[in-house]
Symmetry: C3
Subunit: 175 residues, 3 copies
């Protein structure tokens, strides 16, 4: 809500805005980490690690320092084998020794009849929490200049190889 | 365009905004990747790689997993030897096995009579496309609080060592 | 300030906005880099380095190419031993050969009675400058959708192991 001067002209827009999303989207993405034995199926790989780690096995101390690059399929439902509607591309870095936590920088890249363009994300992912919020920091194409918040949740995982994330994307700036 | 209530006061700004840039800028930047033989001229270097790669030669599978840090000169024209007007500083990560694609996080840093301050970028760069859009996620100094979209195109390249990028920056939020 | 049409309705918001912060915050954070001998106290570690470097000692050429992951305590004053009010989590990459400069991507993560939520940052940090500005690119929780500028300054350092940063956060978009 903007402040409006007595002359009827808005003076600035420091005030509260409406917290109702202008667009809501839900997707799943599927991360299969390379572990030395799954090069065919892997969608991600460790590319940086601390001095005490390596790039094939996630490091001790809750993987602190492991940097993982990913190109994960995005699906509309929680089935890894559903048709991919886009790709989740970017990286995460495990960044805490005492518990699993990561910092994420990535994009959802779409090139389908449904969506063309990208949504860019960044933020902290305390991944042991049932849900956690990261920022939508921008977008292109159908998502030109968008901003918002994405709520991530771990929908499923198998050992330390397969992770399925659900992303509830709520956009609050739509152009 | 904002919704305006019958009282004449704007109620919120969920609606479409003007898509005309408040500022347009065009720059070139020049990336010379360290390959073991060009330490004097190199402006970037591989600092992370997958288990099957190393930090001197870009990895197979379309360089998937290679993390490159750069400090590239920015020029006003497409000549590497023109006076630099700033530096492009940050990183990219090749993030797809089947084709060249990268994720970028970087800044244009200016400290000249023309421009002082920085423009910050993030996004997916499907670099085989003639043009690709990334997000301007913020700025400082002359570019305080800016947002927008930058269209990148590969203006030239030589082998896997020299890449010249053109950046058409369109800012849609200027303070 | 928005342009207002003769009809009294705002036409768009391309024009200058008020540069007065809607929120001001000051914090300190404390980075203790792992150096092979301080695994108990270290809050950060080198996880990527150029071909000529390693992950225990910061590389020559002003650490160019070193990627550091951190999970640093945030305090209200400049005392490392004060109670932490949150964690600064993310990474920095030294990205220039001739002088110390880094690119930062990180979050302040709060979970106290005072603040719940996160503030996300990105930008270039020419760390030899007394002060340098980076972008607040988004936020969650108490900092939902925020944007702004953070001014960093090096409050103290000891050798190449301990760095204390002061962050003056000025938010210009508050929801």
């Amino acid at each position: 809500m903007m402040a409006v001067g007595s002359s009827g002209s808005p003076t600035h827009w420091r005030r509260k805005r409406v917290r109702e999303p202008c667009k809501k989207l839900v997707f799943y993405f599927h991360d299969i980490i390379y572990n030395g034995h799954n090069s065919k199926n892997a969608t991600s790989a460790i590319v940086g690690s601390p001095a005490w780690g390596n790039r094939t096995i996630l490091a001790g101390q809750n993987h602190f320092g492991d940097l993982v690059v990913f190109d994960d399929p995005i699906t509309l439902d929680n089935n890894l084998h559903s048709a991919a509607v886009g790709r989740a591309q970017g990286f995460y870095i495990y960044d805490k020794k005492e518990i699993f936590t990561a910092w994420l920088g990535f994009s959802f890249v779409f090139n389908s009849t449904e969506h063309k363009g990208s949504i860019n994300f960044a933020g902290a992912d305390p991944l042991m929490n049932k849900t956690r919020d990261i920022s939508v920091i921008g977008g292109t194409g159908d998502f030109f200049m968008t901003r918002g918040v994405a709520t991530l949740s771990t929908d499923a995982f198998e050992g330390e190889v397969y992770f399925r994330l659900r992303a509830d994307i709520n956009l609050f700036e739509c152009w």
